[in-house]
Amino acid sequence: SRQRRAENPKEAPATPPYNLSEYFKQFLFPQNECELHNFRLSFSQLKWDKWIIAPHRYSPQYCKGDCPRVVGHRYGSPVHTMVQNIIYEKLDSSVPKPSCVPAAYSPLSVLTIEPDGSIVYKEYEDMIATKCTCR
């Protein structure tokens, strides 16, 4: 590009080399990429602490962010995700882009008071998001 600039200086100045990575980044990795976000709630905020004895705080977490156009193995996404993206971009934009959703969870143990005054300790499946994926 330097030689081309010397030959015909009038041409619009090419972008300096260091911008190239920025230039490609917009295609490869969106700014706010799909990832796991922290969220903590206490049951007293929901006024449920009268019968949820434990835990006092609960962090369900959540997934948020844009899915890159070419997701590949990065999120453990199946090939279908790329196909869905191509459909959205090339064929029918009413088909939604792939979404950033939880891919794995962990359980939660809860101690609650039942309406009849008995007390129950229970372990619930899938109550805390631990990993995100694009689907």
Binding site: K47, P55, I113, P115, G117, I119, K122, Y124, I128
Partner: protein, 300 residues
Amino acid sequence: PRSRGRVVSDKTFGFLVAPEDNASELNPLLRLPKGMRRGYALLPPLLKVLSDRGHQNWENGAPRLQPDSRALRYMKRLYKMSATKEGIPKANKSHLYNTVRLFTPCSEGKHRHRDLMKGDVHPGDLLFNLDRVTALEHLLKSVLLYSFDTSVPVSSSVTCVCRLAAKEHDSSSQVCPSVSHSLAFNLHFEVRKRKWVEIDVTSFLQPLIATNRRNIHMAVNITCLVGDPQHSTKLENPFNMALVPPSLLLYLNDTSEQAYHRWNSLRHRGKSPVRPRQRNIPHVDPTGDGGRGNSQGKRA
């Protein structure tokens, strides 16, 4: 959302159905966007149950009953042993249960249960109402939990003889004269700092709970000798006063989908699911308290 040809299996949402009007009462945090409210609330059962209760401080018109403080203290201790501060179940493989229910005995005033009180109930009898146990919760172990009124001075060692008898109620809910199950056993323990004594009544209650019995009516006769059984012992009255009516503790395995199944998580971690084979499974203590029997027996 418009279900274009999507079949929604009622099995999945069966236990999550919340009629439209409930949705309007839901806590704003739980209110779903209009489109999602058609017919069912996609709430995990925990939040569904709690959000219902959030607006029902009264269960079917009756005031919410508060638990016994001693029982609450015991269950908080059990919670600390079973889960981390953030509420994650501890990966304690020997702890097979995913549900523990503690029932305090019904008393004349507190839980007047219609079909229980017709039969003749003696002062020492214990009446437990097990309505909260669901059909998908299978009994692993049951325990009578005695706590001591520590204000009563009791010397260090106690030996008790305990007699339990379960009373059957026939269809007219009269107590049958013949006692169908009875159990007597000795119990020896040190009463230093110990606040609780657990009496394993699994084999005793199994037949009753297996028949999905909603109400357990037990006659309990416990006599204790204070002091060392080898030397002079005397039947001391103060000890009997110290015994508070016991609670009933049920360690259960909830087989429903929303309950956490340890063998399931093993499978997710790429291990072959450790499903109990149907062969005669050696009785393992679900609480992992290191049951009796030598290691040979355990290996067998």
